[in-house]
């Protein structure tokens, strides 16, 4: 015989942004979310609500999700005015319903920025981040197989700092939180990650110049040093990387202005 569940459930009202397509006009629609377990993640709660909507013949709420363990950066949603909801250092998939109380009205919106157009409901197209990455967020040289440990000495502090930056999952919460829709935290994490490691040095200047240029071209805003980005970041990436990128950008601009250009007069493959 199984004992009766002692788990207390509760109910909230969802106020969700519904938008049929990229060009369609959107609006907020209220849906009740009944008998919610406090241990459900926010996405599981949306699954439950969607089951109910489907049963009623209403189009389910479209939302982006994948790993549901906070490492892929697919889930988004601005929940009650903060990207990824009220928790510190968690993505929407790891925001649990115990963060809310019975009777709450929870406002759920897509990440908003001109560079992140809404595809449908809560789903946004964040391909702009991929374009920034493609413009310089890599090391061109063949990596080959794993080198011997310590063949390339890296100070522990630099390695740890590079790992802090490398934690960026590219979710776009920094852009969504910023009043200027600036991508500075994302770009600075990528630039900082590679710029701190010896493998990234050869292309350090070219990388920061190219990635910042792409960021500007794609229509992201600029930084006003309010640090809403790092506070909203599910990986708590520090805005110290923004300062580092600013310095790198200035240094790279100076160097590129005075660096001699190769004459390309010698032999070799033309």
């Amino acid at each position: 015989m199984v004992a009766a569940s002692t788990l207390k459930t509760f109910s909230v009202t969802l106020r969700v942004w519904r938008q049929a397509g990229p060009a369609a006009a959107g609006a907020f629609v209220n849906y009740p979310a009944k008998d919610i377990s406090p241990d459900m993640s926010f996405l599981e709660m949306l699954d439950v609500v969607n089951d109910e909507l489907a049963a009623q013949g209403i189009e389910p709420i479209a939302f982006a999700h994948d790993c549901r363990e906070g490492i892929c950066g697919t889930c988004s949603c601005t929940i009650n005015g903060k990207p990824h909801g009220p928790g510190k250092g968690v993505a929407t998939c790891q925001t649990y319903m115990r963060s809310f109380s019975d009777g709450d009205t929870i406002v759920v919106e897509p990440f908003r920025a001109r560079a992140f157009p809404v595809v449908k409901d809560l789903v946004t197209d964040r391909a702009a981040f991929d374009k920034i990455q493609q413009s310089g967020g890599f090391i061109t040289a063949r990596a080959g197989s794993a080198p011997d440990a310590n063949a390339l000495p890296i100070p522990k502090g630099d390695a740890d700092l590079a790992m802090d930056a490398a934690q960026c999952i590219g979710c776009g919460a920094c852009v969504a939180a910023c009043k200027n829709a600036s991508a500075m935290l994302f770009v600075s994490a990528k630039v900082g990650h590679l710029g701190l490691l010896p493998q990234g040095q050869a292309e350090r200047d070219r990388r920061v110049l190219a990635m910042v240029n792409t960021m500007d071209t794609l229509g992201f805003g600029s930084c006003t040093n309010q640090y809403e980005c790092s506070a909203a970041c599910p990986k708590l990436i520090s805005h110290d990387f923004i300062a580092r990128m600013n310095r790198d950008y200035l240094t790279a601009s100076l160097r590129s202005a005075f660096k001699p250009a190769p004459a390309n007069t010698g032999g070799g493959a033309a």
Binding site: R15, V212, C223, I242, N246
Partner: protein, 258 residues
């Protein structure tokens, strides 16, 4: 890519221009305040100082044009960046948006900037051009005869007995209308708030700030802004409360000779 193109054409470049011009202007407003605080000393001090600055001729114009260029670049960069950022935010506003950790001063930079700009225009019309409150402008007042020599770095730059413009009296009379003094107090208050975010921000923009010492930096900036406000508020404050008046100036003993 070239340096000037990057500075004027990219988002980070314009931010760097904001920071550098801001730094120059911070240097100016602090120096300007230190010079002005001589109003609390014998009239010889402020009048000798003003006469010395006016005697610099081309150097004075070099500094003035430099400062105006800094103001113009600062405003231009702020305008372009703000318009770009507004566009970047997109057409659809959030239904609900909360601030997480942005400081109060950082949220009102544009508005404090507007008031400071309006103040700069009035301030120049008042004390530099004499088009506002022209009845108490220095050229409308009787000349002042220096009681003692005025020195800069040990050199006598304005000898005793020189007839100079009475800037000391102009400042006191200029702040006697409560509306003028009140606007000045409001403007320097908002300028201090502007500097509270600006002084902190320029370290971030130039890449010199990190979390190892950002709290100390913030505390130094807060203290600097409080001191800046107190210093500036003291001048119209002393005029409004009657501590500084043409009579008190006449009574004060000449500074000890050194």
């Amino acid at each position: 890519m070239n340096l000037v193109g990057n500075l004027f054409g990219s988002s980070i470049g314009r931010k760097i221009l904001m920071a550098v011009t801001g730094l120059v202007l911070i240097g100016f407003v602090i120096g300007h305040l230190v010079g002005n605080l001589q109003v609390f000393s014998h009239p010889d001090k402020l009048n000798g100082y003003a006469h010395f600055l006016q005697s610099l001729g081309p150097a004075l114009w070099f500094a003035r044009i430099g400062l105006l260029v800094c103001v113009a670049i600062h405003i231009w960069a702020a305008t372009v960046l703000t318009l770009e950022s507004k566009r970047a935010r997109g057409g659809q506003a959030y239904g609900v948006k909360t601030w997480i950790q942005a400081t109060l001063a950082s949220r009102y930079m544009r508005w404090t900037g507007y008031v400071v700009l309006a103040f700069i225009i009035y301030h120049l019309a008042h004390f530099t051009l004499g088009t506002a409150q022209s009845a108490t402008y220095k050229t409308a007042l009787p000349a002042y005869k220096m009681a003692q020599d005025y020195h800069v770095l040990g050199f006598t730059v304005v000898p005793a007995g020189t007839a100079v413009l009475d800037v000391h009296r102009m400042v006191i009379l200029g702040f006697q209308p409560p509306l003028v003094a009140g606007f000045y107090l409001l403007a320097v208050g908002l300028l201090s708030l502007h500097l509270l975010h600006g002084m902190d921000s320029l370290f971030q923009t130039l890449g010199w700030r990190n979390s190892r010492w950002s709290k100390s930096l913030r505390n130094v900036v807060i203290l600097a802004c409080l001191a800046y406000f107190a210093g500036n508020a003291a001048i119209p404050g002393a005029v409004l409360t009657g501590k500084l008046s043409p009579e008190s100036a006449a009574k004060s003993a000449p500074a000890a000779h050194h």
